[in-house]
Symmetry: C2
């Protein structure tokens, strides 16, 4: 997605440890006009399949998922990272290892919001080691819903997540795949 | 907002401890068409003021804020609840006591995304004791930005938050104000 790649080149910042900081437009401050373009693009790429629900994970996936959902005309469910007293009753649970936070946490979805007959598109901002997406896919599988595919805004192509997800036979659409980050020069190289 | 009140009556569930569970359409599963109606309504109520940024707080405020932002044509910034290694550098910080989680946590916003010249609308799903909104208002004040107002989807009118925020002179627009919850009968009473 050309407009996204240009934006990453313009405003993305390369930090030590293969970190690509895009918090000026994607996951802290959020450029809603860009999100609309992202929504249109995901709809174009998944135009051939039936989708009735979008599943994402808190926190930074939620904003993108909600704007994307407008182009599909479907509700969004977000997996929560911590049990709160507002989610009583039965939930699906999966464990996720966070690259950003360096710890393992549970993600949960209430059973009433995901189940047989649902055709689910996963949406998230980043794909790196694939743990969050694997966790979401596990929730979908546990629920008996159908996993139609996954839409990712930025895939770190030099990490294993994309390969893991594709090898599982999950249809993965990444709008920008970053093949390398040079923390000395700041150069960001995209996959063609 | 009539359509919202009807939805709360239809799908909201009253739980012990004055909990109003609306996670089937507002803060776990999210009805994006309802969010669009909410966005239109906030735009109508704040049509007379200039706004160039929406500030919300993770997690459940983000989806609403992003859809609302489309009607204002402005970006969204969300305050983060935990410092991660992706937010280095300077941030504004405020402390918030969570009613839902029963603990105190820090919220932060990177200084580069909030500052002098910004005209900020706060958006959140719930207003109960007002702590989250007070925390967001404190971040705006610390940044030198102008706080134009606050838009809340559901205000619990029997808790102190609304009064605290209004007494501070903050323009507060709540789309539904719940005056009482009866956990025995499940009855939800709205302020006229």
């Amino acid at each position: 997605m050309q407009v996204l790649k240009e934006r990453i080149q313009k405003d993305g910042k390369v930090k030590a440890g293969n970190v690509l900081k895009v918090d000026s437009f994607l996951n802290h401050q959020m450029d809603i006009k860009l999100f609309e373009a992202i929504g249109k693009e995901f709809k174009r790429r998944f135009a051939d399949v039936e989708i009735n629900k979008i599943l994402t994970i808190e926190a930074s996936g939620i904003g993108i998922a909600c704007v994307v959902a407008q182009y599909f005309g479907v509700p969004v469910v977000f997996a929560k990272k911590n049990q709160t007293k507002n989610i009583a009753g039965e939930v699906y649970t999966s464990q996720v290892e966070s690259y950003t936070h360096g710890r393992v946490y549970d993600i949960i979805v209430a059973k009433e919001f995901l189940g047989e007959g649902d055709k689910v598109l996963l949406i998230d901002d980043f794909l790196a080691n694939g743990k969050a997406l694997e966790g979401l896919a596990a929730l979908v599988e546990a629920s008996g819903a159908e996993l139609v595919g996954a839409g990712i805004v930025i895939e770190k192509g030099f990490q294993v997540g994309g390969e893991i997800i594709r090898n599982k036979g999950i249809r993965l659409e990444s709008l920008a795949i970053v093949d390398s980050l040079d923390e000395v020069t700041g150069k960001i190289t995209f996959r063609e």
